[in-house]
């Protein structure tokens, strides 16, 4: 049996807001901090010394003197925090989250998601985020796909394979509706950016300089590994690209997201636009980094009516420890 999940809310109103979302998640212990975060912590610490992870309401941000993340870090070192933010609230300041070591965010829509066409209700983003957070790295692809969905896997040997692979991905999303066409276009762009990052962004020299120039034709080096996986269950597309470099830094990702999101005008010219676009076009971004060993960038996208993308997006960033 899994250990409980601790969920922290600022007050009763905050807790009520999340009540229906929490109802479907088993093993949650809810804590309302009210005006002081200190006393409930002591009690909870005794009863749940090792929570599975911590759900933290975004109502604590910007932190107005609670210092709740510091307290959580002290009491539960190494435990992941998933910040939950309602879509109607302003997007949390990414720099503050990163300062506090929060690398997991889910933005939850306030209106119920539409029922899918004949294949059952869509999993709400919070459920998908929790499944992704708790799934084993190799099961993550399946966490947001319906059971039995085939996941295709490819190992790249040359940059020439990028276009045929994207074509294959586009063909996997069959159907001629405008929703399917919109998903096909988004999937192609996401795959393009993910593969480009693995081919040209990841390979770096010891001093961090890039080995290959964007767009140049290249063979995969001996010992190098770039894998592409995707699956489509008729409604949800999951896509994942991994490279064997593990050269991406969480600070770098957060920096790119923040810089591109907060800009007022043309995008910065020092890179990172590709990662930002992946984040904006997927429904949920997952990045796992094992320094010097592997970077996995994955995302989930679902059928949607063409139009504006929702502004707010969640992410998970997992930075594993370097090899000893």
């Amino acid at each position: 049996m899994n250990p409980p999940i601790l969920a922290f809310f600022r007050n009763d109103t905050d807790k009520r807001r999340w009540k229906s979302d929490m109802a479907s998640i088993p093993g949650i212990v809810s804590i309302v901090t009210e005006e002081s975060a200190h006393s409930p912590f002591k009690t909870i610490c005794r009863s749940v010394p090792k929570p599975q992870f911590i759900l933290l309401s975004a109502s604590f941000y910007p932190d107005k003197g609670f210092g709740i993340t510091t307290l959580i870090r002290n009491l539960f070192p190494g435990t992941e925090i998933l910040l939950i933010s309602p879509a109607f609230e302003p997007f949390p300041d990414i720099a503050l989250l990163f300062r506090d070591g929060i690398r997991n965010l889910v933005v939850v829509p306030t209106s119920p998601l539409p029922l899918s066409q004949g294949i059952g209700p869509v999993d709400p983003p919070l459920s998908v985020a929790i499944k992704s957070l708790t799934a084993d790295r190799h099961e993550r692809m399946y966490a947001c796909l319906r059971q039995g969905t085939t996941v295709s896997e490819f190992t790249l040997t040359s940059s020439d394979q990028k276009e045929p692979l994207i074509k294959h991905l586009e063909n996997t999303i069959n159907g001629k509706s405008t929703e399917e066409e919109f998903l096909r276009q988004r999937a192609a762009l996401i795959a393009d950016e993910m593969i480009e990052n693995a081919l040209y962004g990841a390979p770096r020299n010891g001093d961090g300089t890039r080995i290959f120039r964007k767009g140049e034709r290249r063979e995969i080096l001996p010992g190098e590994r770039i894998e592409v996986r995707f699956g489509f269950d008729g409604e949800n597309l999951a896509i994942e690209v991994s490279d064997g470099w593990g050269s991406l830094l969480p600070e770098e990702i957060i920096g790119h997201l923040e810089k591109n999101r907060d800009r007022d005008g043309l995008p910065p010219t020092d890179g990172g636009l590709g990662l930002f676009l992946i984040w904006r076009f997927v429904d949920h971004l997952y990045v796992s980094i094992a320094p010097g060993r592997e970077t996995v960038v994955s995302g989930q996208v679902r059928l949607a009516t063409p139009g504006e993308l929702p502004e707010a997006k969640g992410f998970h960033m997992e930075a594993l420890r370097a090899c000893a």
Binding site: T178, Q185, R186, E196, G215, L266, P267
Partner: protein, 103 residues
């Protein structure tokens, strides 16, 4: 839809029509750099009806091209024929700060 990038420029009165074909990515760099020298304005219509996917590198080169012809040649730029995703992409990356969308 062809995938290889190319661009064709024609003129209709005071308007130059720039027709984009294929995928716009890092491979479009040289062609887009040369294009800035070929286009004079005063009106430039960029037609993406026959173009495919545009990635972040393609966006960067398009921005550079449009900024150059707007700043150096005072060109008035309009855009047409965008796919659903490319329309979002252009809004998201500020291309419409340099050009207007044709209805």
């Amino acid at each position: 839809m062809e995938t290889d990038f190319r661009v064709v420029v024609t003129r209709e009165g005071l308007t130059e029509i720039v027709q984009f074909y294929g995928i716009i990515d890092s491979r479009a760099e040289n062609a887009l750099r040369e294009l800035a020298g070929m286009v004079n304005g005063p009106n430039v219509r960029c037609d993406f009806n026959k173009s495919g996917r545009i990635n972040s590198m393609g966006i960067a080169f398009l921005l550079r091209f449009m900024k150059q012809i707007r700043d150096d040649k005072s060109a008035s730029i309009s855009i047409r024929g965008l796919s659903q995703v490319n329309m979002i992409l252009f809004k998201m990356t500020g291309i419409f700060l340099l050009a207007t969308a044709e209805q």
